[in-house]
Symmetry: C2
Subunit: 125 residues, 2 copies
């Protein structure tokens, strides 16, 4: 019990674990990338662009990114409501590192797909 709590606190304080937990939610990275491409987007625009995120998870993801200071949220006092999201400077500073991953993904995607299908073959034997 103590041990478990200890580990929990440890990962709370560890920058590595902390940032990995942020990426461990499947939507944050994607939202950052989309906001980086479009500069400024309203809630429903983000929803449409990403396509397969639920409203609920888009809300949660944006709130977390806002809480971490990576995304800014600007509410206009209009009806119907208008809310604009965009990356903060810190949010923008993260983008190049994600882009590195994306480049890697592009370069190695076919190799990974091959590996996956040959792994499936092996499993059948």
């Amino acid at each position: 019990m103590l041990e478990k709590k200890d580990k929990f606190l440890k990962s709370e304080r560890c920058p590595v674990r902390n940032i990995l937990d942020r990426f461990g939610d499947k939507w944050s990275t994607l939202v950052i990338l989309v906001l980086n491409e479009e500069q400024k987007l309203r809630f429903n625009e983000l929803h449409r662009v990403i396509g397969d995120i639920s409203q609920k998870m888009l809300t949660v993801t944006l709130r977390n990114l806002e809480a971490d200071g990576l995304v800014s949220r600007k509410v206009f006092a209009e009806i119907p409501p208008r809310v604009e999201y965009q990356l903060t400077d810190i949010g923008k500073s993260l983008v190049p590192h994600i882009s590195g991953l994306i480049t890697w993904a592009d370069d190695n995607f076919s190799s990974i797909l091959e590996s996956r299908s040959s792994y499936q073959q092996k499993k059948k034997n």
Copy 2:
């Protein structure tokens, strides 16, 4: 304009979404980092080093990484069993990109923590 990106992002064959889904599971990245530091590890060693991963999820994560060709699995015909995991060349080629993220995390961790606590304050008002 938005619709084109919509299709692109939704596609199962999209390298971006594919790699993000890989990182969207919370353990793969950490396993890769640990294997990179230690070169070669047995199942229980990985389990101990990571600490708060369950055996089940360690198994699942390692199988996925193996399927994708990022990690190799070497079984020795011994009793008790011995299985060694290590990064493949492709797995190793991914590490620098993850390291970029880690560096960013270290540099911006205090800023993020500050942002989080001031966000909590705002919520109370």
